[in-house]
Structure formats: structure tokens, C-alpha cells
């Protein structure tokens, strides 16, 4: 783990939509580097031809009628919104 850092912390934090302070960047990139170094032990295993597991007991073709059930009222749905007006969530202007 003395070699080059695995993770480009600025780029990855941006993808994750999290602003980090410089101190956080330094600490996280060091910790994540050691964690990534650890998880790379999976490279030791030959997984040629092994099917990946997405779910331990996969269920296929789960269908149901497309019908509205147990819906929330507008008031209930907006109860936790950080800002709201006229039954809508208020957000900052993003286009001029």
C-alpha cells in the first residue's frame, strides 16, 4: 500500500455528491486506500465461469396488477419536505 493511491477522492466524492473538507479528504483517502488494499485480496481467487450472485434466493418474474393502493395524500407526502408552497416542494432556481 506504499504505492500510488487507489482512489481519486475528489472525483469519487463528486460522483457521490458529497462535499468534503480538505481534512476529510486526507483522512478518507488514506482510510479508503487501506480498505481497498484489503478487498483486493479477492483477486487471488479464480472466478472464471462463476455466476455472480445478485440475491441469495433469486425470485424471477414478480408481477402484479398496476393499480394504485395505499397512496398518501399530498399533505402527508409533503409533510417532511424542507420547504413547500402550494402543494409543491420549493427548490432553488437552477436555470435563468
Amino acid at each position: 500500500m506504499t504505492e500510488e493511491k487507489h482512489i481519486d477522492i475528489d472525483y469519487t466524492a463528486k460522483l457521490a455528491r458529497i462535499n468534503l473538507t480538505d481534512a476529510e479528504k486526507e483522512k478518507l483517502s488514506e482510510q479508503l486506500d487501506s480498505i481497498i488494499g484489503y478487498v483486493e485480496k479477492l483477486e487471488e481467487l479464480d472466478t472464471e465461469g462463476v455466476e455472480p450472485t445478485a440475491h441469495p434466493h433469486p425470485v424471477y418474474n414478480v408481477w402484479q396488477e398496476d393499480e394504485v393502493k395505499g397512496e398518501l395524500s399530498t399533505e402527508e407526502a409533503l409533510k417532511n419536505a424542507p420547504a413547500q408552497r402550494d402543494n409543491m416542494i420549493v427548490v432553488p432556481k437552477v436555470v435563468d
Binding site: R17, I18, L28, V50
Partner: protein
């Protein structure tokens, strides 16, 4: 009266309620009194609503008086981990992101408990978004281990385990993604059961890693675990991964299977590393107990054990980074007041910077990294393939044995702060529990003794959908020992 009540089991209390020797309101009042008496020391609750709990208890008494009791759970206080939705109650996930969130609906397991008359009691502390093994990652408070207040209760369901151990609830619900029910149960000396993936609906559980998460009971004895698991199990059309299998009557199955001579496996990889630690002594004694019952004890191999933690931290963080994308500062979470308005995404980035704690940031960023372009095959796809190998290890082992016996955790509860600065060592403390989530099999932790005055748990891992067998195996041990009647002095 309350002194006697707060450590009684759900089945005992149920009988008292049924015979009308106790009212649900008096039971709830005793539970509230006990909670307040020890909460300064234990710190298990993020919040509780006395008025609401007493109203639920009152309704239970009214039903019973009218001859319409909803069954054995009617009037029994059940504590709820603060990542399960209860309509009209806070749902914080111990995160600043959801500090003010009030749930507008019930999780399926909560709906089921309500329909059976259980009194939903309090919001129990956890590691933020269930990410952690000590409950130290809560944004709001530190929960203490009732057996030694300087120690962590385990995590992430630390509040659920501590409250059950301290008599602040008759039983509690937790969630388990990599050991988050079993590890705190072992540290707090209670029974904790992670059901088979798909046994219990995840609808209304704040998602951490959707292919690993399961809701399950933490209780002071095995029969109560069976009772609570019974209450929350079953297929749910609102969770497409929940399984269409019938739920057996667990208590009946336990009765039928009494005295059965099980074939029990010891995974040699689990014992190789742990053989001579002091915490192993009670586990080895428990194994000898099963041998003395006439059970066959066999060594088995799970060859990919050493890769489980690495596999888990790729899959769990990848799924977390995707699941936690919903906490965006726009619709129902904390929103930053100051952000760069010229940058259209800065409101997300700043809200998440303020709302998430350190461990959550670490895992979301790691998950984002392993899924990002150019790394997906090397990490995520590789981990999913190794997950298949780990699953096959268990399938092979279960051709030879009915269940596996292991320690639940490599050590008893550690001191607060001890591992906080070293995430990797914290991750490695889940080494015995993580594989069950990857393989989707049920697992439980059962109190089996002490090391330096701290409880030690025996883990029993079983075949998919064979929780009845786990409960039966655990019950044999419990009946021959008195750990369920030993409580911390608070």
C-alpha cells in the same frame, strides 16, 4: 411490582394478561418506569412517546375486556429500531439527515405487529443508517452496554440489544445486514435472530444493502424470539424479494423437535483463528453440551471464509451508495442553507456533507468507487462471483450437517472508542456473522456464558428457511442453562 415485571418473558406476561392478573396499561407503565430508571446509564432510546404507548395499551385492555384479544402479543411492549417506519413516529436512522423526519406510513413488520395488538414502544438507537458494529456511529448519542457501561453494546442494533438486556422493553426489533442483530445480541447477553433473506418483508425498513438486509427479533429467551419472528414473517407483495413460502408454527415445531439428535458442524476456518481466546471457552463448552446430548459434532470446511469481509464491504457499500442517493436535500431530508447556487448539484453535495456522518460518507464513497466506470468488473462483479463461492460453501456444508455452531463475535464487547479510529479493524469484528448475509441463510446468537463479566454468544447458522431448527437447537441449550435469567445489575 415493576421490579418483577421488567424481566419477565413475553410468554409469561401474555399469560398474566390473558388471565387478567395484569393489565396492558400497568405493564406499559412499568416498562416506562423501568426505561426512565436506567436510561441515563444505558441510553438505548433516541425517543419514546409515553402518551401514544399508553393509548395503545389502553386499546389492548379494551379489546381484551370485550373478549376480542388479538393473540399472544396483544398488550406486549415491543421496542423498535429507529430505521423501521412507524406511522406518525420519528424515523431518524440516527442520522442528522432525518433528524426531523416523521414517518407517514407503517413498515410491513410494524403493520403486522399492530394487527396482533403489540404495543410499539420507542425508537431505539443504532449506528447511522445501520452502518457500524458499536452504535458509536449514531449522530445523537452513545448507547452503553448494560453489563459494563464503559463498553459498547455492539451494533448496529445496539439500542435494540441494550433495551432488551436492560428490561426497557419486553422484546425489540432490529435489522441485520452483516451481523447487526446477532453481534449486539451476543454483546448484551440476549437472543438475536436474523431470518433467512426473504422470510420477513423489508418494506418500511430504511434500506442499507438491499440484498443483505433482514428484520429480526432481539429477545431475552428463545421462545420469545420464536413468538416475535412468527408475528413478522410472511410474503409481502410490497417487497418483491420476500419469499412465497409458508411460515411454520415455530413454537409447535420446537415442541416436536425436542430431544432431536442434530448433526452439528464446526467450520474449521472459524475456529482456526479463535481457538485460544478467552471468549472461546463458553463456546467450546456449549459445543460439549450438544455432544453430551448425543448430537453428532462434525468438522466442516467453508473454504472461502477468508474472503467474506472483503466481499461484503464491496457489495454492501455499493448497494448503500445507490440506496442512500435518495437522501438528496430536496424532498424529505435535511437541506443545507448555504450552498453554491451557481452549481446546480451543490445543494445535494452540501446537504449530504452536513447530513451524513463520517462512516456513512466513507461507505457511500467506497461504494461509489467500486461501482464507478472502469472499476465495476474488478470490484463489484468480482465480489458477486465470490459471493456465489461463499454461498456454495454453505450449500456443501449443509449436505453433511443440519446447522453450524460458531462464536458470534471474535471478542466480547470492546471499550468505547477502542476501534473508532480504525474502520478496518471494526469491519473485521463482523468476521463470523457476515457470511450468513452473503449466503442469505438464517443465523442466531444465543447467550452461552461470560468472559471477564461480559456476555458471550454462540452463533447457530442454519439452512435457508429452517429457522425452526435454529430455534429448536438453541432451546435445548437454553433449557439446560440459566443464562436467560441472568441480568446485568444496573
Amino acid at each position: 411490582m415493576s421490579k418483577e415485571l421488567h424481566y419477565k418473558s413475553a410468554s409469561e406476561l401474555s399469560e398474566l394478561l390473558e388471565k387478567k392478573e395484569l393489565s396492558a396499561v400497568d405493564l406499559m407503565k412499568a416498562t416506562i418506569a423501568r426505561t426512565k430508571e436506567v436510561e441515563d446509564k444505558v441510553g438505548a432510546f433516541n425517543s419514546y412517546d409515553e402518551v401514544d404507548a399508553l393509548a395503545q395499551a389502553d386499546a389492548s385492555d379494551a379489546r381484551r375486556a370485550a373478549g376480542g384479544s388479538f393473540g399472544p402479543l396483544d398488550g406486549i411492549p415491543v421496542g423498535i429500531k429507529d430505521n423501521l417506519a412507524v406511522n406518525g413516529q420519528p424515523l431518524t436512522c440516527s442520522s442528522k439527515m432525518l433528524e426531523k423526519f416523521v414517518s407517514p406510513y407503517d413498515a410491513t413488520c410494524i403493520e403486522k405487529l399492530k394487527s396482533q395488538g403489540a404495543v410499539l414502544w420507542g425508537r431505539l438507537n443504532l449506528d447511522e443508517y445501520a452502518m457500524g458494529s458499536s452504535t458509536e456511529n449514531s449522530a445523537f448519542k452513545t448507547t452503553s452496554n448494560p453489563w459494563n457501561l464503559d463498553c459498547i453494546p455492539g451494533g448496529s442494533s445496539g439500542g435494540s440489544a441494550a433495551a432488551a438486556a436492560a428490561g426497557q422493553a419486553v422484546m425489540t426489533l432490529g435489522s441485520d445486514t452483516g451481523g447487526s442483530i446477532r453481534q449486539p445480541a451476543s454483546h448484551c447477553g440476549v437472543v438475536g435472530l436474523k431470518p433467512t433473506y426473504g422470510r420477513v418483508s423489508r418494506y418500511g425498513l430504511a434500506a442499507f444493502a438491499s440484498s443483505l438486509d433482514q428484520v429480526g427479533p432481539l429477545t431475552r429467551n428463545v421462545k420469545d424470539a420464536a413468538l416475535l419472528l412468527q408475528a413478522i414473517s410472511g410474503h409481502d407483495e410490497r417487497d418483491s424479494t420476500s419469499y412465497k413460502v409458508s411460515t411454520p408454527n415455530f413454537l409447535e415445531a420446537m415442541e416436536k423437535q425436542r430431544g432431536h439428535k442434530w448433526t452439528l458442524g464446526l467450520p474449521k476456518e472459524y475456529f482456526a483463528t479463535a481457538a485460544d481466546t478467552p471468549a472461546m471457552k463458553p463456546v467450546l463448552e456449549a459445543i460439549e453440551f450438544y455432544r453430551s446430548l448425543g448430537c453428532e459434532i462434525k468438522e466442516v470446511s467453508l473454504p472461502h471464509t477468508d474472503y467474506a469481509v472483503a466481499t461484503y464491504y464491496i457489495i454492501a457499500t455499493a448497494e448503500a451508495s445507490s440506496n442512500l442517493a435518495r437522501y438528496d436535500g430536496i424532498r424529505y431530508t435535511h437541506r443545507a442553507e448555504k450552498f453554491d447556487a451557481k452549481d446546480s448539484v451543490d445543494i445535494y453535495c452540501q446537504s449530504r456533507a452536513e447530513g451524513f456522518g463520517e462512516e456513512v460518507k466513507r461507505r457511500v464513497i467506497l461504494g461509489t468507487y467500486v461501482l464507478s466506470s472502469g472499476y465495476y468488473d474488478a470490484y463489484y462483479l468480482k465480489a458477486q462471483k465470490v459471493r456465489t463461492l461463499i454461498r456454495r460453501d454453505f450449500e456443501n456444508a449443509f449436505k453433511e450437517v443440519d446447522a453450524l455452531l460458531t462464536p458470534t463475535s471474535p471478542t466480547p464487547a470492546f471499550k468505547k472508542g477502542e476501534k473508532a479510529s480504525d474502520p478496518l479493524s471494526m469491519y473485521l469484528s463482523d468476521i463470523y456473522t457476515i457470511s450468513a448475509n452473503l449466503a442469505g441463510i438464517p443465523g442466531m446468537s444465543l447467550p452461552c456464558g461470560y468472559s471477564d463479566g461480559l456476555p458471550v454468544g454462540l452463533q447457530i447458522l442454519g439452512k435457508p428457511f429452517k429457522e425452526d431448527e435454529l430455534l429448536s437447537i438453541a432451546h435445548e441449550f437454553e433449557m439446560a442453562h440459566d443464562f436467560k435469567d441472568q441480568h446485568p445489575s444496573l
